[in-house]
Symmetry: D2
Subunit: 286 residues, 4 copies
Amino acid sequence: MTRNTTVILLLSCPDRMGLVSRISHFIFERGGNILDLDEHVEREGQVFSIRVAWDMKNFSILPADLEEAFTPLAKEFNADWKIYFAERKSRAAIFVSRYDHCLQEILWRHSLGEFAMDIPLIISNHPDLGFLAEQYSIPYHVFPITRENKIEQEKKELRLLKEHNIDTIILARYMQILSPNFVHTYPNQIINIHHSFLPAFMGGNPYRQAYQRGVKIIGATSHYVTEALDEGPIIAQDIIRISHRDTIEDLRRKGRDLERLVLARAIQYHTEHRVLVCGQKTIIFQ
Amino acid sequence: MTRNTTVILLLSCPDRMGLVSRISHFIFERGGNILDLDEHVEREGQVFSIRVAWDMKNFSILPADLEEAFTPLAKEFNADWKIYFAERKSRAAIFVSRYDHCLQEILWRHSLGEFAMDIPLIISNHPDLGFLAEQYSIPYHVFPITRENKIEQEKKELRLLKEHNIDTIILARYMQILSPNFVHTYPNQIINIHHSFLPAFMGGNPYRQAYQRGVKIIGATSHYVTEALDEGPIIAQDIIRISHRDTIEDLRRKGRDLERLVLARAIQYHTEHRVLVCGQKTIIFQ
Amino acid sequence: MTRNTTVILLLSCPDRMGLVSRISHFIFERGGNILDLDEHVEREGQVFSIRVAWDMKNFSILPADLEEAFTPLAKEFNADWKIYFAERKSRAAIFVSRYDHCLQEILWRHSLGEFAMDIPLIISNHPDLGFLAEQYSIPYHVFPITRENKIEQEKKELRLLKEHNIDTIILARYMQILSPNFVHTYPNQIINIHHSFLPAFMGGNPYRQAYQRGVKIIGATSHYVTEALDEGPIIAQDIIRISHRDTIEDLRRKGRDLERLVLARAIQYHTEHRVLVCGQKTIIFQ
Amino acid sequence: MTRNTTVILLLSCPDRMGLVSRISHFIFERGGNILDLDEHVEREGQVFSIRVAWDMKNFSILPADLEEAFTPLAKEFNADWKIYFAERKSRAAIFVSRYDHCLQEILWRHSLGEFAMDIPLIISNHPDLGFLAEQYSIPYHVFPITRENKIEQEKKELRLLKEHNIDTIILARYMQILSPNFVHTYPNQIINIHHSFLPAFMGGNPYRQAYQRGVKIIGATSHYVTEALDEGPIIAQDIIRISHRDTIEDLRRKGRDLERLVLARAIQYHTEHRVLVCGQKTIIFQ
């Protein structure tokens, strides 16, 4: 990594006076040029959070030494924090089953350079979408899942992910529930797309539920995966209007458009390090 | 009622051939001029439904005789049906508690002639909003409700509603749950506004629930009141985007705007006889 | 064409009594089963328009004889009308230049069966997107355009279109202006996508115009092509919110999502014969 | 003014290193606690802009001395800047003609405490809405305007505005064009609501223009008034979907809802000092 790099600090800590000043001064006095700074104080819990991006071209500290240099300040603030270098892209694995729309969307946007990430591999429990992976020259690994082999197959998947230094997992309509062990290995790093406006219509077949309830709007929700199904921190949501004329098949068709746009938005936020998880909620720095 | 009138037929029945033709022919051969016709076939249940409005200026049957004249056809179709005369406006009672925004909105729109209804009275369990009723010269009746007197007070309210020939009840953020007896007296005639995107966040304090869940969108839902709380047929829904910056107080403020617009839309559909209830769902003819 | 077919009538005429009845009776008495009927009366101009779809399974007239059978009624009504058989799909040619997003979207949706059309060929003034055509096995014809050869090349294109019985032309961000002669050959059959909320920002580079004006919302508009640039009848429009943070490049990126969704919606309306053009405006039967 | 106050700095200047650090340090070293900070760098023009709010409870400088204390820094940065004390509310005059919806909305929201402003007076060229002013106990001044008396009447209005220390003028569907002299007296302090999605349909009767063009979406735009009609910096915009079924009267009705919401949003941004004008554009700090 050259010094020609942008660094992003995501930090949250108990609120107190002088946080913005101390942090921005830390950057300034070492020659950093702040490119973007956004902060937020959650009044109820008195939690301060900040995202600050700066240019390290003339920074007096090497990227490799930055974490160590910032640690004393972070300790003083009793902060949760993480530093990302923009030039060190996220490494994402995409998990799919048989629906192609979300995978299509991600690969196409990726080919346009919309996401700051590499996609070293795609994992699926079905061979069906291999042709798409091939079009974009990305290795496609098939791990068929049964009730019996699930834990075993997940172990192999985890090994593969480690080998490729994966830090982000995108469930692009992956129709398997990951085991708690898998989820814990990647906390707030697994992004799912649920085809309803959560918390409405959790669980399976939300379009049928929506149809039967007679709602006038359907939604899609992208969230981090936690052990509790469909209850992880929400990253992005959007909706589309429907009417009594729409059949379940129409809801599925309209929903597809929502799902891929909402998932794409979540991936963008995540890979640009704009998401800070606070308990069951997210802060999206824009 | 003069003959210078528009009549609206709302009808649903098992689907079969020739329904549109038979119904439109019934109108045409008696000299009616169809102004608006919209139909829908629900494929799953094979249910046909239609809304047709026609001009009775040159109709060969008197308005008073129309129901009798149409009955044979309706029987043949095994139909649920109702006839409304546009010139005979809905008679609505508005129920309120202490929040003024929905009442304000309804009274203001009503004064502009947006709704095809009369408002002979407003009922409240608190005296607070009497001043608003006064501004628009509408009688305001206070029935304080306690656990002990609820049934008794509802009886008085029902008597008052009967006296005024009320056919539509609008719960404009009325903070009391109506008893099953009250609800059954006005089936699909009581319109409520719930301050969430149902079925998400049913019950009390949906804004707090939304805040705690960390959703990125909040909603409002107007529905007919049934015995099962917040589960009646949905008439209208809308949403607004929020972010981590919004406090619960912000959600309430933003939600107010949604609530009054969604309730107003539902009142418009209802009073123009555009809503047909099918089980737990509605068809909105537009 | 078998009798197992759905037929769609699009008709407009001066308003008069009995139109719905006469038309639906024409269908009923010949054994047709109305599947969908929507009508509209434009009050200012007293123009009646209708879209009615019916099932011909038990129809007493052969599809081939339907036009002749309906002609007397149409003449009596002094109507503009057209009959479409749902099983006889639209035949569309897609015109592209170098942007791939709209073409991608159309081909992908087409592969999912979303559009009732065949795509016998793609025409471009550049070879760049041939690879996409190949992925979907659709012939890709390149006609480079210069000021000098434009008329000549268009003649060749028109010949090709005739050969393939093309009835619908989709300009999927085709960066050439068609000559009046070309436009007149396909009246209300050429669908364009303009990357602004028309009539704002007509002409070239609307994203730059939007950026410089400082609007808070950008849009996209799909319309039929007429001789007057960007002034044809509008089929579909949608918008997306932007802020001062968005660069022109961001507008382009966000706009891409709009463009492909709005164009896809317009294609759906057009190929399902839901669009009736009245002067500079459209009626969309939904 | 006590020290129990929140102060807001709005500043823009040529971009350079250390701006956030220097400004936040200025606040911190004097005992201020930053409550909210948002900055933006416009890449094309290399313009830095910032909004920072801090608590002055323990600030070592008196509010009255703050401007002087900050001046050296501002000069060094070659900045345009302004300091606002949150407790010193905006003083707004509302201008109306005969439409009541925007005035209603503002007065109602104001009564709920939504706006950080006082409304010492309402000015109109018609007596019609005096009753509304009375309901909210706000003085209502009528200045009938003719071509002949316009300049004279505006002079009287300006005198009245000065007397009441007005700093914000809200044109709530005021149907008169202000003279250049009037506009120059209140640069970026006069907020207008235009009933279209600017720059589409500038000038008079945008609903008729929209109806005739056959757009599928209508909008409303709130902007600062400049000498060039309908071309001032845009503060807020929103849209609503329409269809061929909507008459011009329907557009007016639907538009009313948009107009009042968009104007209310603009007032909120303005009175919370979230708007920074850069040439023909605005930055909205949220």
